[in-house]
Amino acid sequence: MLAEALVGDVLQKARVGGADFAELYVERWRRRALRVLSGEVKEATSGLEYGAGLRLFYGTEVVYAYTNDLSPESLLELTDTLVRLKGSAGQVDERGRGGLDFRKATAQGLHAPEIPFTARDKRYRLERIREAEAGARVGPQIKQVQSDLMEWEQEVLVATSEGTWAEDRRVRTRLYVTAIAQDESGMQTGVVGPGLSVGLELFDRYPPAEVGRKAGLQALTNLRAKPAPAGTMPVVIGSGFGGVIFHEALGHLLETTSVAKKASVLSDKLGEKVASEVVTYIDDGTTPHGWGSQEFDDEGQATERTVLIENGVLKSYMVDRLGSLLTGYRPTGSGRRQDYTFAPTSRMRNTFIAPGSTPKEKLFEGIEYGLYAADMGGGQVRPGSGEYNFAVKEGYIIRHGRLEEPVRGAMLVGKGPESIQRIVAVSDDLEMGPGMCGSLSGSLPVEVGQPHLLISEIVVGGQA
């Protein structure tokens, strides 16, 4: 995307200005979005995003600049500005002399699309989306169906003063269907949104009619559901996107972004037992075609499969370059950013609780009164206190070990380190689900996952 000589000049100039380390990140995105409401295209938009971010390290002090003027004059001036911001202008450093010898690494296409976006026209997309719409109309109460199709193509180059030169190409597709059901009792929604690092074969892996049907059924379930009860009770959390609870309650506490500052309640706990022994927690950036997969992270390092917790014992954090400098932990290919407007930080990729051995049905046995959180919305955590919350999108009451009436509007809250000690059983039916995770370095595609599991007690926020 940029000439090697120019990249070399920028990095050298930064080194001459006294930086210990310089990194140039360049990207170009093509994004397309289609919003279809009740069969009609409401909005169709296409975009081209293009920019560069330059990050300099002076010890562990960081200066960052970004721009979307990528002319040689602009990039060299940007470098000057950064050096001036640090107040080290005019210094000539011996380390900056001599040429840079890049070790070039290019993506192998591990997550490359089978059906590229160019292979089908826009009408084709519209037809497939209309199948989702038709699928969602599972009853007369379904009043509106909205489908959003997102197509992202990102080309990335990361080059550093240490000779890293990594080029990656990332293609992602997501279909997001919202069904709105309404009767005299009110309005409720059902949402299903599969996404993968694939092209238009997403429609083959997740037939749109089936995606729509699930959204429609969820909306109907919520329409007849009663408000969730309030109080502390045992909760069985469903597989797939259910994993969002541990993304919030555990994952964020294991990123060096908070660990390095001792701002996580799980700082300095490597080798210690932090969870119940039925818990093994893994963050994998290499899952083929995973929504959160990529061959290189946004610091140019190859991604990997990182075992974070094994049988309850903390084995590793998620470590980016700055986190590694601050803590001494080995980098894990976890440096990620939304786009060039953010400096990278340590982030999750595809994170899941590994399958256990308890059959799913056994989880419900012996529960006198509890909640089955079959599908989940998003959540949030404050790493410093470990307090988290997340919303149940589809829930049922468990009575005497049996699933009974549906309930809506439940919010689960607690403190992460306590909740992971209370996981008493994990089933064997691991599934993954896509989501967008927002944090310091922006909003990123991640997968969360887990098998069905049982938490002995958790606060359920509903109607008192």
């Binding site: 919003r35 169709a44 081209l48 826009k122 909205q146 307090e387 997340f390 359920v460 926020g461 008192a464």
Partner: protein
């Protein structure tokens, strides 16, 4: 190519092709200084901008945008927008006609100060927090400033530009007392750098987060609720605005759809949007389509007076446009508030109940379509007219419209919150809400 050149290039090409086009170009500059451990750990300096077009071809609307300002990229934008338009079956699209709107500077020299002073401001805020031994960790302390220049032009004659911006002081830290840990945040926001005072922000943090230490569980039940401005402002910015958007009304997503002229809130509740406030952080001379800014009363003494409109929703509903068109260069036409606020009232007298100081998890726990919310909250137990002790590990749940109907008192002081748009609110007392805890 400059942004103005890009705009002119696109309009000229569009005219030549016989396409109606509206071009929005935004350019922004940003500076962020992050302090940690008594030193500046990160500085970010940035310039960013892009050009977005909305085209109308035979009544069909399409969009495209680019951050690359080369003739090839701009040509691609027009072609994509054209193709996107042809996908629409609806043919009622149009671009409003207009005239010269002028160049407006709403920021002036507000952000002018030496870099060193800005660094010292960030460092002073962190030092102010660390001076209190109960502060266990300062996670983030940041000074940030941003200025934005927006330029609008269309083949229908609209032409105008304005500049705005703000300076922000923000911190997030953990306080501890015995076994009790609380993470909180505090911010101050102004169009004048010199109006920020790190000492004041540090004191506000220590006060607001320190009062939550030693929290006890809350017994599940229904309580009178005193929502602080930060808490109610977030609910209003998300749920309230969604319901008022005429775009959502037309798409069958708003519970207020058939409630114009009816009582939808307590009679002491008046909700206003005013883009003309001189110090308003979201003030604007005109909206994203070039409609001149003016004050709008959405809810007056509990009665719903109007929805928020852009030209398209106003025409479709056959009413007056309120000038709430919104669009970023990457986005599509929507409706958005400017400075949205609840008219302060006669004051709140504490009796029995819960003061809700903050709400968390709004993106997942508040559903604006159903109006229902169930949210993690922080707060204080009120007994016998006084704050008794802090409470934790609980949620507050209800329906937003029911909440509005049960407002029993409003505080006298308006506080602005930038969490969900720029929203102003006094303290809001609600007769009863459902709390889930121990």
């Amino acid at each position: 190519m400059t942004f103005e050149e890009a705009r002119d290039y696109l309009l000229q090409k569009a005219r030549a092709l016989g396409i109606e086009a509206e071009v929005l170009a935004t350019y922004s500059r940003e500076l962020t200084i992050q302090a940690h451990g008594g030193r500046v750990e990160e500085i970010t300096q940035a310039t960013q901008g892009g050009v977005g077009v909305r085209v109308v071809v035979a009544g069909k609307t399409g969009y495209a945008y680019t951050e690359e300002r080369t003739p090839e990229a701009l040509d691609w934008v027009l072609q994509e927008a054209h193709e996107n338009a042809l996908l629409q079956s609806e043919t009622g699209g149009f671009l409003p006609s207009g005239g010269a709107l002028g160049q407006h500077d709403l920021l002036g020299e507000g952000l002018s100060a030496p870099l060193e002073q800005k660094r010292q401001t960030a460092l002073a805020l962190e030092a102010g927090l660390r001076a209190d031994p109960r502060v266990k960790q300062v996670q983030m302390t940041r000074y940030a400033e941003r200025e934005t220049q927006a330029t609008l032009g269309s083949t229908q004659g609209v032409a105008g530009a304005f500049r705005n911006g703000y300076a922000l002081l923000l911190t997030s830290a953990v306080m501890a007392e015995g076994q009790s840990l609380k993470q909180g945040y505090e911010f101050d926001l102004s169009k004048e750098f010199h109006a920020l005072e790190p000492g004041r922000t540090a004191q506000a943090f220590l006060q607001n987060t320190g009062r939550l230490l030693g929290a006890r569980p809350l017994k599940t039940g229904r309580y009178r609720a005193y929502l602080e401005p930060k808490a109610f402002g977030q609910l209003l910015g998300m749920m309230g605005w969604f319901l008022l958007s005429a775009k959502n009304v037309l798409e069958g997503k708003s519970l207020l759809a058939d409630k114009l002229g009816q009582r939808v809130a307590s009679e002491i509740f008046t909700l206003v949007d005013d883009p003309t406030l001189p110090d308003g952080l979201a003030s604007r001379p005109f909206d994203a389509e070039g409609t001149a800014a003016r004050r709008t009363v959405f809810i007056e003494n509990g009665v719903l007076r109007t929805f928020a409109h852009n030209s398209e929703t106003a025409r479709r509903m056959g009413v007056e446009n309120t000038g709430h068109a919104s669009r970023s260069y990457k986005g599509v036409l929507g409706v958005a508030p400017s400075n949205l606020f609840v008219q302060p009232g006669q004051g709140v007298r504490l009796e029995e109940g819960i003061i809700v100081t903050d709400l968390m998890g709004l993106h997942a726990g508040a559903n604006p379509i159903s109006g229902e919310f169930s949210l993690q909250a922080l707060g204080l137990r009120v007994e016998g007219g006084e704050v008794a002790y802090p409470v934790e590990n609980f949620t507050v749940a209800g329906n937003f419209l029911t909440l509005l109907a049960h407002i029993t008192a409003l505080g006298t002081k308006l506080e602005w919150n930038p969490m969900m748009g720029i929203v102003g609110s006094p303290m809001v007392e609600v007769a009863e809400l459902s709390f889930a805890g121990a």
